[in-house]
């Protein structure tokens, strides 16, 4: 028998022999929940994912992560209405992360650095895209990444669609637009300008295309019946804005009236102001709260001196005299006439009452379902009634924004790719949403949003210089670091630190953590304390 000291009968042992994991009734598991920003992005960007890279100053990785979903970060950082920021959980804490400002910085930085994206390995399949707007270009980009040969046919003199002919330069400088389109062209996408598809079936046959993506947008200005004698003074907003990118600047008078309440109406009013109109009046049938235009754009227009007549409608135009009637809103928020009439003087009336799709060239395509309002019906895979012909952007039923169109392009490209391979694209089912109540916000430091610089008012009224400036490298980094990383581990070591049983194993940078179930007692402190809600407690099954 081994000799032991007096009164000692057992050798010393370690507590590691005691597997306390057997006590557990609940077990912690690491999960990735869907951040609300990602859920809110119409282009399907992994926003939390690229902010995570940007936080570390890994700008190229961050940019490439955006580029997996959206070929236009510099453009979207400027013109997207960022629904991601509306849903951002940080908004409930202090202010939402200025996602668009970081995206814009990354986009601009990529242009400056000349970063490019490679096309995929050639599949030998040919795809036709009709229309070089955001949706068409986005589809072409994603199809090229998947290795398909893409030809775009565009009716206009330059690519960009509404990004060029609808959005004024002071919101989207043309060099930015050109640079992001050039990157797609550099991937081998060919764009044929000034060409119209007259007969789709003939074009498909002659070009040997195996699939088509239609994205011609909605470029026909809607008409509105206003009795008037001098129709020459009435112009449509789209034609007016388009003219800004042509050779000759459109002629307008000293007193301009813009009729409508959408973003296009605001763009037209602000453009008229910059062209030297002494007085620009926006007339809209309903009140400010009911305007379809985004409020910050209305605010910027007001700052620049655009005048408004909410709750008015134009009854008659008689040379330079406008007869307007005051309206009132009924219980449903619809405008109703009051009978109170007044007159206004205007040299030019710009109509901005909506746009329609020019579906003429599709009339002989079999199986296509065009609804009475001119939009094309598509199924869940963005395919029209004609097999192999897909459609997206403003010409299908959806919200008409650059971002939605860009998202359509990606979605359609994935389905077209599957169609060409004879399979079906199945979107992975999204994770549950990382709602605010999942967060432990005590761990986050208060931090105000970084402010983007604004051009001074005098220059805004007189020039087409970009109104909103970008963040620099330092402020973009700080802004990215405001991200709460909702539902996704950001390696803060809190679970590792707070476990009373050392049952969390830290795997090292980029590797996250693992639970040591031999010792985890299932107390749930890690899940409770995790700042971003990336740990769930689930029932233990033995």
């Amino acid at each position: 028998m081994e000799q032991k000291p007096f009164a000692i009968t057992l050798n010393p042992a370690s507590s590691l022999a005691n597997h306390t994991g057997t006590w557990r009734t609940m077990r912690p598991i690491y999960v990735d929940h869907l951040p609300p920003c990602n859920q809110g992005c119409p282009a399907g960007e992994n926003i939390q994912g690229w902010l995570y890279e940007a936080e570390e100053g890994k700008y190229e990785q961050a940019w490439r992560k955006i580029m997996e979903d959206n070929p236009f970060p510099a453009i979207h950082g400027r013109v997207c209405y960022h629904p991601c920021e509306t849903t951002c959980n940080r908004g409930q804490l202090d202010e939402p992360v200025s996602i668009h400002a970081v995206e814009r910085f990354l986009g601009d930085y990529a242009i400056e650095q000349g970063w490019q994206v490679e096309a995929g390995v050639a599949t030998g399949k040919r795809v036709l895209v009709v229309g070089a707007g955001p949706s068409g270009l986005s589809a072409a980009y994603h199809l090229a990444r998947l290795g398909h040969a893409v030809t775009i046919i565009e009716a206009g003199p330059k690519p960009g669609g509404m990004m060029r002919f609808g959005i004024p330069q002071y919101r989207l400088p043309r060099n930015v637009l050109d640079a992001e389109i050039a990157r797609i062209v550099a991937m081998g996408v060919s764009i044929h300008l000034n060409q119209k598809v007259d007969n789709l079936e003939t074009t498909i046959k002659e070009g040997g295309f195996e699939a088509v993506f239609l994205a011609i947008g909605a470029h026909l200005s809607k008409r509105v019946d206003i009795p008037g004698r001098d129709a020459g003074r009435m112009i449509d907003a789209l034609g007016f804005l388009k003219g800004m990118d042509g050779q000759t600047v459109p002629k307008i008078g000293r007193r301009v009236v813009v009729y409508g309440g959408g973003d296009t109406a605001i763009d037209a009013a602000r453009t008229a102001k910059r062209l030297g109109a002494e007085e620009t009046i926006l007339i809209y049938r309903r009140d400010r709260g009911h305007m379809p235009a985004h409020d910050f754009e209305v605010e910027e227009a007001l700052e620049e001196g655009v005048l408004t007549r909410w709750l008015h409608t134009i009854r008659q135009v008689d040379n330079t005299t406008l007869t307007v009637e005051e309206m009132t809103l009924d219980e449903q928020g619809r405008p109703q006439p009051t009978g109170r009439i007044e007159t206004l003087e205007a040299d030019t009336v710009i109509l901005a009452v909506g746009q329609e799709v020019d579906t003429g060239f599709l009339e002989n395509v079999p199986g296509l379902d065009i609804s009475s309002d001119g939009v094309i019906q598509v199924d869940a895979s963005m395919m029209t009634g004609r097999a192999g012909v897909f459609a997206g952007g403003d010409m299908v039923p959806a919200e008409r924004t650059v971002t939605v169109a860009t998202g359509h392009g990606k979605k359609a490209a994935r389905h077209i790719d599957a169609y060409l391979r004879g399979s079906e694209y199945r979107k992975p089912s999204p994770n549950t949403v990382a709602t605010y109540d999942r967060l432990n916000t005590w761990y986050y430091t208060d931090a105000d949003k970084s402010r983007q610089p604004y051009l001074d008012l005098a220059r805004r009224r007189a020039s087409f210089e970009e109104v909103v400036g970008g963040l620099d490298k330092d402020t973009a980094l700080l802004e990215a670091r405001r991200c709460l990383s909702c539902g996704n581990c950001f390696e803060c070591d809190t679970c590792y630190g707070v476990c009373p049983d050392n049952a969390i194993i830290k795997l090292g940078p980029g590797q996250r953590y693992e639970v040591n179930y031999d010792y985890c007692k299932g107390c749930g402190v890690c899940a409770e304390e995790c700042p971003c809600g990336a740990i769930d407690m689930v029932k233990e099954v033995r």
């Binding site: 057992l10 050798n11 010393p12 042992a13 370690s14 507590s15 590691l16 022999a17 005691n18 597997h19 306390t20 006590w23 936080e55 570390e56 005590w442 761990y443 986050y444 430091t445 931090a447 700080l478 670091r481 405001r482 991200c483 709460l484 990383s485 950001f490 390696e491 803060c492 070591d493 809190t494 590792y496 630190g497 707070v498 476990c499 009373p500 049983d501 050392n502 049952a503 830290k506 090292g508 940078p509 040591n516 031999d518 010792y519 007692k521 299932g522 107390c523 749930g524 402190v525 899940a527 409770e528 304390e529 700042p531 407690m537």
Partner: protein, 331 residues
Amino acid sequence: MSYQRVKFYQTGTFTVGNRLLDESNRTVQAGMDRTNSLNSGHRACQGCGEALGARYALDAVMRATHQQMVAVNATGCLEVFSSPYPESAWQIPWMHSLFGNAPAVASGVAAALRAKGKTDIRVIAQGGDGATVDIGFGCLSGMFERNDDVLYVCYDNEAYMNTGVQRSGSTPPRAWTNTTQAVGKDPGNPMGIGKNLPRIAMAHGIPYVATASVADLHDLEAKVTKAMSIRGARYIHIHVPCPLGWKSDPAHTIKVARLAVESGLFPLFEAEGGEVTDRTPIRKKVLVEQYLELQGRFKHLLHPRDEGALEAIQAMADANIHRYQLLPLKA
């Protein structure tokens, strides 16, 4: 707060670590090479605040002393759950003698080390609130008076938990324990008794006294590190929730500790030579009710509401906020 918090962006200042932060600025607990003075397999209950507090404090001591340290443990939960014969969860030189004599044993260890010229080896004594404020109080007071070179750490879970939740001199007013039942006219522990040991320690005029909480790791580690930079008798009082005795959800251990700090009931401060020198401000002030409602031991104050008791406890928190200036003064 005796140190400058690394004002690190938006997600690193209060979390245990942060991948964006330089290693030297992260907590000891964030390190992959953390020493785990108290190892896995110990038999503390789920969500034990004391097990957590002990590892936090001793790992910080290990770093500060380059692992040249020895710990003397009083009887109590910490001693029992870590060392059922013949197992030990301790990865440090560790000894246990009796319930009431840990400060005296530690004084002796320090004297022996001094006699052998090994003054680089530092001595820690530790115990629960029972061993500290009641049973070992005489020895502790002597250790303070002699200014022996020992850091005494008290893990305060506000009752004798190991033996089945009996009241101690640190049990808060109106709390249920098995010896202060929630019955009668003034249910729970009587108001106006008990001992505030950090202030008693300060009254001894020893070099360093601090309070800390498992809810603020950066603060706790900074205080332990500072204590180890000083020679003589030092005292740190750490608030450690006990899910068993407080009748709280084990998952809420840190949350409860945080609410104690944020309500003002457990003020975080430092004192040197008997004078308060610094305090950790409250970040997001809460009412004491928010702290009390997570704990079954205060259930009788809220169901039905005992307005008098709630007001009295809130007044205690407000008095702490005033005494230690826990809220930034309004301009």
